[in-house]
Point group: C2
Chain length 225, copies 2
């Protein structure tokens, strides 16, 4: 069955469908689906937000949580799997032999890109119908709490969000006459001084200290990858 | 000048405008703007995403970065400030005397809620016109790179995202006959065993270990706040 039959939507611009199904590993100079995935993610977030807002009198905190359980790799890859979307993705050979058609991230990304493509082709209202139909089951599961039980994921997210990595800026010294001072600012990360920034104001010194340390950590991270 | 004149949009449902302008500190049993803020944030994300997608041939990474510089407290509070939105927010007395009308978070949240309200009242296309007009200057600044210079914010976000907090699950032991085993799973956080979960499968044991530790860290965090 074609994708269009599966999702119940026929593209006016067939090119959009092709781009949505093209993974970055696919050779040739065809456009891949990364930009459409970015757009599709925002489309999904708004459609689900509006649905939760109108259909259920949930608090902001509850809506945030339930939405994140619907618009996430786990849920979207499941929806893509049910549509057998993997069969239709244009992949590079290396990606195919390493199981790319079954890879959750590829499936979820293709699903998002597909929704981005429908949105560009048809606008918000039509896309809403398509999305609410395709994600009906996942929405139901999330609302019933069945998708909210993954404690491993919840712990991971909690720690990422809450673990204290304290950044502090302190004035080391200032030099020069009152009208033309130079400020030396230390950046203290988890109690340790990791960089110093200089500036004609405290603010400028802080920005420079942050810039220097950011440069350092990015460099270290690149070396490790 | 009324808000409607300032933003160039007239509400069919005036009640929506009132809710959008009501801060949670406002007494009485009126609905506050937290739910509309949630919705408005998603509306803004999609409008800016679509705009960046269509108007500029930027990569996904660039779009993510520029969008986050447009749809953020700093940028939205500036837009709200230019509209003098602070004058129109319904605040509690305590919030007023502590400078609530100038508080960036209040301004940005009211702006988001206002956009959520316009969206419910008029739909996506009309809201798009309103938003692109109100945020024209911020979009221009973000595209020119002028909003991308805050290294302190960038460092904060980078560390939050990248700092390694390694979570590992290891099998401590299993007990019982092959068809009815019990698994004991250790949760290792940054090299230290912080909890143990028991289950009839490794997966269940892992989930329980995560559940126990999550419960612990949340309790500690509550005591500290």
């Amino acid at each position: 069955m074609t994708i269009e039959k599966k999702i119940g939507y026929h593209f006016k611009q067939k090119e959009l469908l092709k781009v949505a199904m093209t993974h970055s590993s696919h050779s040739g100079n065809s456009t891949n689906n990364e930009r459409l995935e970015f757009l599709g993610d925002a489309v999904l977030e708004l459609i689900i937000s509006e649905y939760l807002f109108l259909a259920h009198k949930l608090s902001e905190g509850k809506m945030t949580k339930i939405r994140s359980n619907i618009v996430c790799a786990e849920s979207l890859s499941k929806a893509a799997y049910d549509l057998k979307l993997g069969e239709h993705i244009f992949l590079g050979k290396g990606e195919i032999v390493t199981g790319g058609r079954q890879r959750k991230s590829n499936l979820a990304n293709a699903f998002e890109a597909l929704i981005g493509a429908v949105f560009l082709d048809s606008g918000f209202e039509t896309t809403k119908e398509v999305v609410l139909r395709l994600l009906e089951h996942n929405i139901h599961l999330a609302l019933s709490g069945a998708l909210v039980k993954d404690y491993k994921t919840e712990l991971q997210e909690y720690i990422q969000k809450n673990n204290e990595n304290e950044i502090e800026y302190t004035l080391d010294k200032s030099e020069g006459p009152e009208h033309n001072k130079t400020f030396y600012i230390n950046l203290i990360f988890n109690g340790e001084c990791v960089s110093q920034g200089v500036g004609k104001s405290k603010k400028e010194g802080e920005q420079n200290a942050a810039k220097i340390y950011l440069h350092q950590v990015k460099k270290i991270s690149e070396q490790n990858n």
